[in-house]
Amino acid sequence: MLLLTFQIGPEAVGLDIRRVREVIPRVRLQRPTGGPAWLAGVFVYHGRVVPVIDLHQLAGHAPCPHHLSSRIILLPVAGDAAGEHLYGILAAQVADLREVPDGVPAMNSLVEDGGIDLGSTVADGGGVLRLLDPERMLPAAARRQILLAAGVPA
């Protein structure tokens, strides 16, 4: 499985590239008034408003740094069969691809109820890599809000 690797706070995270629609530079984001704290903002992607989540803030770290390698990963909204609705996640060090063998032994994540789940943990060299699952990543409330905003019946 080929992974797009990036950094969420201190953690190295990988995401199956088959889930990724596009990786784009960090664009100027607009924060809608009254939006939730984890929403980095929205931007217009080819005529469509796309919300962007700052995973760093959602996970309780400092906001994603303003580096050239901080990029937006566009993913299709789960449950949208047509695949038209997208949301973005803002992450740091989005600059590498890594091949991880399928079926590599993984430890399931230890997450409190309502906590952000960055996915199961696998060994990667001397360190560990989290295998991000976009469906499990967001707390239920945040996921519902994104689905509602995208106009997908939850």
Partner: protein, 220 residues
């Protein structure tokens, strides 16, 4: 992953390929560009803050609606020979390279310029201007900065010809081709499928099938 130290120094300039080549890692990596230390140093550029205007520029670029690529399109490479802008389908294009020395063939003149070595293979080099009857002088003289060699191939035939400048690959809707104006020389008109307008220039699209036929018969 190797355990090489990620030094904040420019070791490639001191002991690497741009220095005295004394670095022991060169035995394994051959060139600094394959070495993880060099790669890590390059990646540090991405840790710099984005330049002023970068975020706004990308926001504007991504906000634009997707260009409707409807209809049948073909890709042609636009280049200049003498005073004429021409285009050739990318299907026959193999390589665009920097100018290389042309070795003349004794007792052969005319459209055959000679032999050219491209990546170790010898190819026949032809004067496209003479094939097309282009005599108009170039509006800007050929300089080493803009001159290129084009290597083209169709079936087993390979030809190289020098051009005075290469623009870019243009996505051409098939319906956009107009008939060549009557001012175009006879030879050029026979070898062209039509013209299209690109940046206020009339670009003649060469018929690759006819061009290869003519080259083959003239140089038999």
């Amino acid at each position: 992953m190797t355990a090489l130290p990620v030094t904040p120094t420019d070791c490639w300039n001191r002991i690497g390929v741009r220095g005295d080549r004394s670095c022991p890692e060169l035995v394994q990596h051959v060139h600094c560009q394959n070495c993880p230390v060099f790669g890590a140093a390059g990646r540090r550029f991405l840790d710099a803050p984005a330049p002023v205007g970068y975020q706004d520029e990308w926001a504007a670029r991504l906000a634009a609606p997707v260009e409707d690529e409807g209809g049948d399109r073909e890709s042609v490479l636009v280049f200049r020979v003498g005073g004429e802008w021409l285009a050739l389908s990318v299907h026959v294009l193999v390589e665009v390279s920097n100018p290389k020395p042309v070795h003349r063939v004794p007792h052969r003149t005319g459209i055959l310029a000679g032999l050219v070595n491209v990546r170790g293979e010898l190819h026949l080099c032809v004067h496209l201007a003479k094939v097309l009857g282009i005599t108009a002088p170039a509006e800007s003289p050929t300089t080493p900065a803009t001159g290129r060699l084009l290597l083209v191939r169709r079936d087993a035939d390979r030809w190289v010809f020098p051009v005075d400048a290469v623009d870019q690959v243009h996505r051409l809707p098939r319906g956009e081709l107009r008939r060549s104006p009557a001012t175009v020389s006879r030879a050029a008109a026979d070898l062209s499928r039509g013209v299209f307008h690109h940046r206020n220039l009339a670009v003649g699209v060469l018929d690759e099938r006819r061009l290869f036929e003519v080259l083959r018969t003239k140089l038999r």
